[in-house]
């Protein structure tokens, strides 16, 4: 480029940067147009001359600035606008949650939004794509609507897997761990064979934490078609991967793994045959339990560990038995001994290994959930003389293993059968179990709370701390009603006042949230 082609302003900027003491003014005119040069002006300092010409040059540029024409035609492929999107107020509420207000309600917002079958107006999407975790978004594609995929195509930072578009193998090979988890979960819903092919294609080079993460996704809906891959993962270098693979295989009752475990276990357990006659029916059947020998290499490969963890107070041999028992569907024993769950459990409790067997059956039921067993086990735990944390953990895990609707039934059933003395256990349990309470559970919990407020004298107590969680889980109608009553009863200055107000705020926030989603 010759000097004459450089815009005058740029040339002046180059001179000014060095300073006129070092760089002389050019011979050619510094003015953007010759007609601007002051005619017959009195002599001025070089610097002043440069500044005047620079000012003129700057205006010259600004008056005519135009961006170079470029690509970017009107996007004709933008998805058609939705007939009835969610109301603006729903977007505002979501923004407030994402901005830090009651952040725990994010999933509830999305679930309720998904239930309406409607999507967000597209102008809220960039906020969601920027601030909501990829996995949450992937679970609620319908709330985002088709515009999200359109936007993600234009912004490489966003990953949106649309239900109707194909996912190229390259994306699996090149994505970040976070993205690949989402992609794997998405492809598994559509084409399980391809999801396994993907896994095998990169397994050797995937980092251990990636392998571990991918197995978690297989756990969603593990099936017989996963068996050969999981068998292969049993020989993984990382222990966590081997443990996860064994756990998943144990969930497949028809798998080779399940048959191998059962073969080792079958002869060690025997339930006495039912006694004849009327009196015989009343007599309890006895359970005979033999402890196994140390697990060999093959058993260890199947996930049976030789040494119990230091935290567990259990004998080595009992531990070997418990691990195997925990892998087998409990329904197997009912079939084999022709009995129901309470009968078998009663018999187990009468043995020398009562608590070990109870824990093992609980673990087995968590792996292979079945209503009869969950109910029976929850009852036994509640009535056992075990310490509260152990009881609560067991029931928590049992509840967690079943879908939400069944979880509600399980908890409500226990609640109905429970003795008043166990009420305290229950309020503890409700703190930890993730559950959307129905009206009955809410009533029970809030009655309990009212009772507690009426009798508490201390400034601090545990239930006060868990009130936030209760407010997030309770039935909104009942919650609002009870909260109002409590607030009326305990005015300003009462030591529960702040906690109750906070409870009320959260419930009111939820009520407003649901109302807006239905607008």
């Amino acid at each position: 480029m010759s000097a004459a082609n450089i815009p005058p302003f740029e040339r002046l900027a180059a001179i000014a940067t060095l300073g006129t003491r070092r760089a002389p003014l050019p011979k050619e005119s510094p003015w953007p147009d010759e007609s601007l040069a002051p005619a017959g002006a009195e002599p001025v300092a070089r610097e002043t001359c440069l500044l005047r010409a620079a000012a003129a040059g700057a205006i010259w540029e600004r008056a005519g600035t135009r961006a170079a024409p470029g690509a970017g035609a009107a996007p004709s492929d933008f998805p058609a606008h939705l007939a009835q999107p969610l109301d603006e107020s729903a977007g505002w509420r979501l923004a407030r949650i994402l901005g830090g207000e009651h952040t725990h309600l994010l999933i509830e917002w999305f679930e309720a939004a998904a239930a309406t079958g409607r999507s967000l107006p597209p102008h809220w999407l960039p906020m969601v794509l920027n601030s909501v975790a990829t996995e949450v978004r992937a679970g609620f594609g319908s709330v985002l609507g088709p515009a999200a995929a359109w936007l993600a195509e234009r912004n490489p930072r966003w990953l949106v897997v649309a239900a109707d578009t194909d996912i190229a193998d390259e994306r699996w090979q090149e994505g970040s761990l976070d993205e690949r988890r989402v992609l794997l979960a998405a492809i598994r819903k559509r084409d399980r064979a391809r999801s396994l092919a993907w896994l095998r294609s990169t397994w050797e080079t995937d980092a251990p934490e990636a392998r571990e993460a991918f197995l978690t996704i297989l756990a969603e809906e593990v099936g017989p078609d996963d068996e050969s891959f999981l068998e292969f993962a049993l020989d993984d270098k990382r222990k966590a991967v081997r443990v996860a693979a064994a756990d998943l295989l144990a969930r497949l009752p028809e798998s080779g793994h399940a048959r191998r475990v059962l073969a080792r276990l079958e002869s060690l357990i025997e339930l006495e045959a039912p006694h004849g006659g009327i009196l015989g029916k009343l007599r309890k059947r006895k359970l005979r339990v033999d402890l196994p020998a140390a697990p060999d290499k093959a058993a260890q490969r199947d996930g049976i560990e030789a040494k119990p963890p230091a935290s567990r107070k259990i004998g080595e041999r009992a531990f070997w038995l418990a691990q195997m028992l925990a892998m087998v569907p409990p329904a197997h024993w009912c079939r084999r001994f022709d009995c129901d769950a309470p009968t078998l459990l009663d018999a187990a409790l009468a043995t020398d290994y009562a608590i070990e067997l109870l824990s093992a059956f609980t673990e087995a039921t968590i792996r292979h959930p079945q209503d009869e067993w969950s109910q029976a086990l929850a009852r036994i735990w509640l009535e056992s003389s075990q310490e509260m944390p152990a009881v609560i953990t067991a029931i928590h895990d049992l509840a967690k293993s079943v879908p939400h609707a069944q979880r509600v039934v399980l908890i409500e059933q226990q609640l109905r059968d429970t003795k008043p003395a166990n009420a305290d256990y229950f309020s503890h349990m409700l703190d930890v179990i993730e559950l959307r309470w129905n009206a009955a559970i809410t009533k029970f919990a809030l009655d309990n709370l009212a009772n507690l407020v009426a009798h508490s004298k201390e400034n601090w107590s545990r239930p006060r701390n868990s009130l936030d969680a209760w407010a997030r889980r309770c039935d909104i109608g009942v919650g609002m009603q009870r909260a109002t009553a409590l607030l009326e009863k305990y005015g300003e200055g009462h030591h529960w006042r702040n906690a109750l107000e906070q409870f009320n705020d959260i419930v009111a926030f939820r009520a407003a949230m649901h109302k807006e989603l239905l607008k």
Partner: protein, 451 residues
């Protein structure tokens, strides 16, 4: 009264915490004597004090008063009352009680006295001789200040911009302070801003040279003030630091029109918060900019809401172009209108800007209604493109780029915003018959539909 929605009330709140506080107040159980008319809404709210707080709101002029001591305005009681009003059920029609009546009557009376006072020319005439003396003294000081400034910028160019950039912030602050002493506050601000940009901008070279060139031009212009057209001369005097007395201004005859509020923006100017409100006369098509200021914890006034149609007389400050104005007298408020009229395409806007730049070479941001345009993303930057294919950039600091793109989809937009010759900064967006403004919820940039 369907104009009052929950969202509109939330948008009035000074921040998110205020919204939250207002929601806890917005329960009928906390109130006594709720009522409303076509113009007013009121109620008494039990707060932590002994007596309930008396809250009253003028729904048309958007004015309010609460007897609580809060300095954050509108307070949670005012917002709470409006939230209740917005839900359409909790505030029944009624006759205003005394405290509302009195307030409303007082406001009307105050407006009247103000009007009378303005109509009375024989207020206080200052001693013209003393004033002339003061003016002369100041002119001398400014003259000396200009000399110093010219020497200083000449020296910068001689030493080189690169050497100047290495100077500490005090280098700029000292020159600015000397200009303040010379009573040329406008110049002082320019020097300070130039220093900030020199230290922070990636394009510091051309920006610094441009700023210095503008200063040189300003020095030249002030020395030849008589030779300039009157409007430009007034503009130059203001840029130096002469301010125009608002009392004098109010005596002028203004322009009466029904003004549509088409854009709002807030900015932090050193210690002051400034609220920019853009108006457009629905009959005359003239534009006006009203500036309102607040310092420290004092809230900005809520004199205008977006889309509002204000029947008022506006007086303009001198300027080139004449844009900044004061509201002299308000005659009333008409129902809101959320639609732009006469938008221009990009060439039209640039043509008008060039003409204005020819009249005032220091012209900065200039308002324009642009449309129909299509937002497009190219290499990560947002552009606006009109039907002729011409396109202009949106500043990278505009945080709602993607929201704007998603809002438009395949449709075209009309935008009101500020054009500085390089970039167009949108303040109000019209899309499919609704208005949106860039907003922040917590720290999240969003587009908020004007409800």
């Amino acid at each position: 009264m369907g104009e009052w929605s929950t969202q509109r009330v939330e948008q009035m709140a000074p921040d998110g915490a205020a919204v939250k506080a207002a929601q806890s107040v917005a329960r009928p159980a906390k109130w006594r004597g709720l009522g409303c008319t076509d113009r007013l809404a009121w109620g008494e709210c039990q707060g932590s004090g002994k007596d309930p707080y008396q809250v009253r709101v003028d729904l048309i002029d958007v004015n309010f008063k609460c007897s609580c001591p809060s300095r954050k305005l509108p307070c949670k009681h005012t917002l709470g009352l409006l939230l209740l009003f917005a839900d359409g059920k909790s505030v029944p029609p009624g006759t205003p009680p005394t405290f509302v009546e009195e307030w409303s009557a007082n406001r009307a009376k105050r407006a009247e006295t103000k009007q009378k006072k303005e109509a009375d020319p024989a207020a206080s005439a200052p001693d013209p001789e003393a004033k002339a003396k003061r003016v002369e003294k100041r002119e001398n000081r400014i003259g000396a200040g200009l000399e110093q400034l010219e020497t200083w910028i000449t020296d910068i160019v001689a030493q080189g911009l690169a050497a100047t950039r290495a100077q500490p912030p005090a280098f700029w602050a000292q020159m600015a302070a000397r200009l303040v002493d010379s009573q040329a506050a406008g110049l002082a601000n320019r020097v300070q801003m130039l220093g900030d940009r020199a230290l922070s901008s990636a394009r510091w070279q051309p920006e610094l040279l441009r700023g210095l060139g503008e200063l040189q031009m300003l020095i030249d212009a002030y020395r030849n003030l008589e030779a300039l057209p009157p409007a430009l001369a007034a503009e130059v005097r203001q840029m130096i630091g002469w301010s125009q007395a608002q009392d004098e201004l109010r005596e002028r005859t203004g322009v009466r029109d029904v003004w549509q509020v088409i854009g709002r923006r807030q900015a932090q100017d050193q210690k002051l918060r400034v609220q920019y409100t853009w108006l457009r006369g629905s009959r005359g098509g003239q534009q006006a900019l009203v500036l309102e200021f607040a310092a420290g914890p004092v809230p900005l006034p809520v004199s205008y809401t977006l889309g509002q149609m204000v029947d008022a007389e506006m007086v303009y400050f001198d300027g080139c172009p004449s844009l900044r104005a004061l509201e002299k007298l308000r005659h009333g408020v008409e129902p809101r209108r959320l639609a732009f009229v006469d938008a221009t395409d990009i060439a039209g806007m640039q043509g008008a800007y060039s003409a204005a730049l020819a009249a005032n070479p220091w012209l900065g941001k200039s308002p324009a209604v642009l449309g129909p345009v299509q937002p497009v993303i190219d290499a990560g930057r947002l552009f606006l493109r009109d039907a002729t294919g011409r396109r202009i950039a949106v500043p990278e600091s505009f945080a709602q780029q993607w929201s704007l793109l998603a809002l438009a989809g395949a449709d075209a937009l009309q935008l009101f915003g500020e054009w500085d010759g390089f970039e167009f900064d949108p303040l109000t967006i019209e899309c499919r018959g609704a208005w949106y403004t860039p907003a922040q919820i917590a720290a999240l940039p969003v587009l908020s539909k004007v409800a």
